[in-house]
């Protein structure tokens, strides 16, 4: 591979790692900050991706794609046809709203219960979402998948250079989400979430409406995951229910958070780049070592190594100390 090829591959790698960084940030709001055991990330991932795709994808030529059925030709309505890709932002917004509303509905009925019920509910919702898109063909072409999802500002730049533009888009969104989540985490709002994570009863006895805060955190994390899904859809430009396989849409994101450092937003992003680096890098290994099972095994080895050496993850949670004690901010 020549230098241009390496740079181009790196851009593609960084786009995917950045998108996974968004998911890891969302999971950090759920688990790292609040202790909400969400093992159905794939559900919000899929909802975000499909929503954005349905908002932006035009019906392909029927002569080329027979029997193509989906309900997403809204971008052809034309009322936002202002010469720029406003639909991309609309898709991003719609993805976050849909995930937020679904999280509100799930959270409202499950967050009063113990953590294990939330885990079961999120897992169930993820499977329901996947099966919905698989079986309800009229929504997104069923198992054949949704393709020709447009590139954001795709007309502005040549196809061979497009990844660089999209990398900037992904990094800008990631940076904005990081800034928002970090400010929230370091505020009294974030402090209440951590108190809930540590001991719900004690947090309630300290005057906090635990259910309300958990619901807010659950919705915020889901919105972030929805945005991640939308970014993913516009990157891979093809979605099928198989895309949202639990290994690559839920468990690898957990691995990223555990490796980088649960409770630390920088750690979540670092974990995303590291784990995605291992996942992507191992595909170049010779023979059996590039087998997906071996590659997942390597991620498992990394998790075990990190847990043994640094149980809180590579960066771990930052300790908030008094300003007056050493000048650090709380």
């Amino acid at each position: 591979m020549d230098v241009i090829g390496v740079i181009s591959y790196s851009a593609g790698f960084a786009i995917m790692a950045g998108i996974y960084g968004v998911f890891a940030l969302g999971l950090n709001v759920h688990w790292g900050s609040t202790g909400l055991f969400n093992i159905g990330i794939a559900g919000f991932f899929a909802l975000g991706a499909y929503t954005a795709a349905l908002m932006t994808t035009q019906t392909p030529d029927p002569a080329l794609f027979e029997d193509f059925k989906f309900g997403g030709n809204w971008s052809e309505l034309g009322f936002l046809d202002l010469g720029i890709d406003l639909w991309f932002f609309l898709g991003l917004g719609a993805a976050s709203i849909v995930c937020g509303v679904i999280a509100l509905a799930i959270g409202y009925v499950t967050l009063r219960l113990r953590d294990d019920y939330l885990a079961i509910a999120t897992l169930g919702i993820a499977e329901t979402v996947r099966l919905f898109f698989l079986n309800e063909k009229w929504v997104a072409n069923g198992s054949k998948g949704l393709y020709r999802i447009p590139k954001f500002l795709g007309d502005w730049i040549s196809p061979e250079n497009y990844d660089y533009l999209y990398l900037v888009v992904v990094l800008v969104v990631l940076a904005a989400l990081y800034a928002a989540v970090e400010r929230a985490a370091k505020s009294p709002w974030g402090r209440v979430l951590r108190a809930i994570r540590e001991d719900e009863t004690a947090a309630e006895a300290s005057g906090k409406n635990v259910f309300n805060f958990k619901l807010q955190a659950f919705i915020m994390g889901a919105i972030i995951m929805g945005i991640g899904g939308a970014l993913f859809a516009h990157n891979v430009r093809f979605l099928s229910p198989l895309t949202f396989d639990p290994l690559l849409a839920t468990f690898i994101i957990w691995a990223m958070l555990m490796v980088g450092g649960s409770g630390n937003n920088k750690g979540a992003i670092l974990g995303a780049f590291l784990v995605w680096g291992i996942w992507s890098g191992t595909q170049f290994l010779p023979g059996v070592f590039s087998d997906p099972n071996f590659r997942f095994f390597m991620i498992g080895v990394l998790i075990v190594a990190v847990i043994l050496i640094r149980p809180g993850g590579i960066l771990g949670e930052e300790r908030k100390v008094a300003r007056s004690a050493d000048g650090a901010r709380i």
Binding site: A180, R183, A184, S187, P188, W189, G190, R191, V192, R194, A195, E198, D199, T201, A202, A203, E204, A205, S206, G207, K208, N209, V210, Q216, M220, E317, R319, K320, V321, A322, R323, S324, A325, D326, I330
Partner: protein, 236 residues
Amino acid sequence: MDHCSMEVAPGAITGLIGPNGAGKTTLFNLVSGAVSPSGGQIVLGGRRIDGMKMHQTFELGLMRTFQIPREMKRMTVLENLMLVPAPQIGESIWKAWLTPWRVAREERRIESKALEALDFVKLSHLTNEYAGNLSTGQKKLLELARTLMADPKLVLLDEPAAGVNRTLLRDISASILLASVERGVTFIIIEHDMHLVMRLCDPIIVMANGAVIAKGTPTQVQEDPRVLEAYLGSRR
């Protein structure tokens, strides 16, 4: 609970004693809102609070501690205290995002109040320590400091002396007395350390089998045959 009825005067330090299983902690759970009663009335300052949740009773000035300390382990001692005051501007996510300068100003105020509370219970040297690393006695002091952060009207202390050495116990008693005298806080204290109860509390209420069996000054309670019977069993 079995037709349990009692009244606590504002500003008093009331002791609540009784043998194991008498219903003392259950009573705290009912009053604080941890458990909803199936019947009866609980009134705080003229307002019915039965059936309220814990965060609602907290808003009315009721703060409780737990028999086994429930500190936020992976949060510092300071954070454990800064959590308590309510309402805080920065607990609204929108205000935390949009008005960080107001939140920072409020944080400075709450931090200095927390440092005062730590000074009050003599835990200043542990300000930045994780609460989970404290000894049992220090956790009890931390719980006491948390109650002070709330500016409560009524504090329910569940066995504040359990597992605490004599030196720390003196500190805890002094802190309770000081809070009562200087801040006018009303205390109800469940405790098995009779020396502490007799020295600190007046009146004392005795419970057995979910009901109140005696109430009076320390001397009256000590001489009450029903109390002796509850603790030692009836003579045959």
